[in-house]
Amino acid sequence: MSRLNENSLTLAEEIIKRYPRPKSALIPLLHLAQEQDGYVSDDAMRHIAELVGVTPAEVLGTCSFYEMFKRHPVGTYMINVCTNISCQLNGAEDLLEAAEDLLGVRAGGTTEDGMFTLEDVECIAACTEAPALQVNYRYEHRIDRQGLEALIEDLRAGKRTDIPPHGTLALVRQHLDPTRAAGIESPEQAGTPVWFARRQPAKEGA
């Protein structure tokens, strides 16, 4: 719906400088747009295209490849139930069924109040703690129907302040202090690091 706001724009400009070529910042900037609006809007993609110097179609091309980018509004909480092999062996199908039942939507759907989107996802890397799910990419291990019911209740009651709304991933960002950075140049400008050249015996290459 909207372009990047002032705060996002400041961050975007900082992020772009971190890469030897601006287009490399595309995925981080799409995450930034999703963090701002909860999904990636067409206007945000146009804005990102301007910022990194590519066409909006190229931004869409990248965006549409990656499953985490949602191009339409989704629930405040994205509940991703893993149904891959290790979770399946430990009751993931029952868990997904319970989630569909408790939320009243099929996998892929969003509840009418816009609170939850349910997804049936592939391995989320918590295989020994099966069955597992993620709420906005935060883990819930060895969870059953009762556990899920309590979790949904807590989320509805606003008790899970540790889980930010959909779109926000890491709560801590890397900050590259210009006075501490080594300095990132474009591949055309960059050469052998000075410190490395100093350490090379005159006769040898690498």
């Binding site: 890469y19 030897p20 070529r21 287009k23 490399s24 910042a25 995925i27 981080p28 799409l30 995450h31 590519v54 990248t62 490849f65 990656y66 499953e67 985490m68 980018f69 149904t83 891959n84 092999i85 290790s86 399946q88 062996l89 430990n90 892929g108 592939e122 391995c123 890397a125 918590a126 295989c127 020994t128 703690e129 099966a130 993620q134 990419y137 935060r138 883990y139 291990h141 991933l169 890491a170 801590v172 960002r173 890397q174 590259l176 202090d177 501490r180 080594a182 300095g183 990132i184 140049e185 591949p187 960059a190 052998t192 690091p193 000075v194 410190w195 490395f196 100093r198 290459g205 690498a206």
Partner: protein
């Protein structure tokens, strides 16, 4: 330190008895903070490295025979040597762990981010480069957070950035993350993703990353666990590293054992010194199959690996032993399935993963994996005919020409077909989908047959089949 114990703050990690290289700090709840890392000897490997010539650091790593822990098992030191003397050059850290069954890298990033950062700086120094990209899987919010915080602290304390530890050495590490695509774990797809593109693999040759990688410059792509070994190697030396594990596979490695075992978990084990039997039944490890059931089969190295059975239990966990036996150790993801498991269902579940995650670049994989999934669905939905069994094998052989790697089955006089498979595709994703199919068909053909309900010759049934195929719901998600 507690031994053989469950470590609550590192859910999934089991602190069993044995030498520890990369999980040495996991028992400490605050292991991810800089002060704790430094107290436990952190960054002293980097100090030692900076006192050496870069080439000598690379030689030490080569001498340690540090095998890559991402899946292929190629020695890191040898890989480094493939870089031509061309600058700029880049280091890319592959933290895009998504192989079904795997999650050692997530624990390493969440529990000990400084160990990984130290490993990155050591590698950059050895290779004479000053820009490193640390690419973490998109779905791992906590890992991203911990690494971001650790990098901010490490920059402030001069372990990264300009003038590292007061020397003239200056190196940047940029944290970046993906957005949900298994294929980006493939190194050339990871590079595409880092360039801001759709994560589709590049053809090798000519695009071997060491020669033509990120921005077409020489690039080394190393796995998280591989680099996490470097601080220890630099601190203690290659000779001491080689005292652990076996001659061909020195050191330790992380394995995640999940599925039907009594104590699933991520274990650090000495390479080549532990057998699957030790791992599944040993007191120090998984302590047996759940409910004391019989073992039916196990996946020794992630969803992409051909299955093993009870006959392979006495093989040691060592790449050089597993390959000739018909499978791979891959990323150390072991999934154990007991006698109650439906082989067709398990096969379908793993195949569905590859169908969803196919990037769509190569036709045999794009079309083939979804057909494999559809045919397997017919068996589960009671819509299969006998001819579907051969059809399934035929579709697989278009992605990976037979014979496909498989375990020996002495009872039936079948010999092992060694790893790796052949492929008609650019990357191994498509061929990986054939692993569960070949494994299940070879060993449990009767289970497929038992699920056949339709007659091959009956035309009505052929129509019913077509209708069934039409009614197959479109898979959600996927990277298409």
């Amino acid at each position: 330190m507690a031994t053989n114990a469950y470590v609550p703050h590192a859910a999934g990690y089991v602190d069993n008895e044995g030498p520890k290289v990369v999980t040495a700090n996991f028992a400490d709840p605050e292991s991810f903070t800089l002060p704790r890392y430094v107290t436990s000897g952190g960054y002293s490997g980097l100090r030692r490295a900076l006192e050496m010539e870069p080439a000598d650091v690379a030689a030490e790593v080569k001498d340690a025979v540090l095998l890559g822990r991402g899946g292929a098992g190629f020695p890191a030191g040898v890989k480094w040597g493939f870089m031509p003397p061309v600058w700029p050059r880049y280091l890319v850290v592959n933290g895009d762990e998504s192989e079904p069954g795997t999650y050692k890298d997530r624990l390493l990033m969440e529990r000990d981010p400084h160990q990984l950062i130290e490993g990155c700086v050591i590698t950059c120094y050895a290779l004479g480069l000053n820009t490193c990209f640390l690419y973490v899987r998109g779905e791992m919010a906590l890992a991203q957070e911990r690494i971001a915080a650790a990098l901010n602290d490490a920059y402030k304390s001069q372990y990264v950035g300009s003038n590292i530890l007061g020397t003239d050495v200056s190196i940047d590490i940029v944290l970046t993350w993906g957005a949900g695509a298994y294929i980006v774990g493939e190194e050339t797809a990871l590079i595409e993703s880092l360039e801001g593109n759709r994560g589709m693999p590049r053809l090798k040759p000519p695009y071997f990353p060491a020669a033509k990688g990120l921005y077409m410059k020489p690039t080394i792509v190393n796995n998280v666990e591989t680099l996490a070994n470097l601080p220890w190697i630099l601190r203690n030396g290659a000779a001491e590293y080689k005292e652990m594990g076996s001659e061909r596979s020195p050191g330790t490695r992380l394995v995640a054992v999940s599925g039907h075992v009594k104590r699933p978990g991520v274990y650090e084990i000495e390479q080549g010194k532990v057998t699957f039997r030790d791992l599944f039944y040993g007191e120090n490890f998984c302590q047996g199959i759940r409910d004391d059931n019989e073992l039916k089969m196990f996946i020794p190295g992630g969803g992409s690996a051909p299955w093993f059975f009870s006959e392979q239990l006495d093989l040691p966990l060592e790449a050089s032993e597993i390959g000739p036996a018909g499978s791979m150790l891959g990323s150390g993801a072991i999934v154990v399935m007991d006698e109650t498991t439906d082989a067709v269902k398990a096969c379908h579940r793993v195949v569905r993963f590859f169908a969803r995650e196919s990037c769509g670049k190569c036709s045999p994989c794009r079309e083939g994996t979804s057909w494999e999934e559809k045919i397997l669905e017919r068996f589960l939905d009671g819509k299969a005919r006998m001819a579907d069994i051969d059809l399934l094998a035929a579709v697989g052989s278009k992605i990976s020409p037979s014979p496909y790697p498989a375990a020996a089955w002495e009872e039936e006089g079948l010999e092992a077909v060694p790893f790796p498979p052949r492929q008609t595709t650019i990357c191994p994703l498509g061929p990986s989908s054939v692993a569960p199919i070949t494994s299940a068909l070879r060993r449990f053909r009767h289970e497929f047959e038992a699920k056949v309900v339709l007659d091959d010759a009956d035309e009505e049934n052929v129509d019913a089949l077509a209708a069934a195929a039409d009614a197959t719901p479109v898979a959600l998600g996927g990277a298409q």
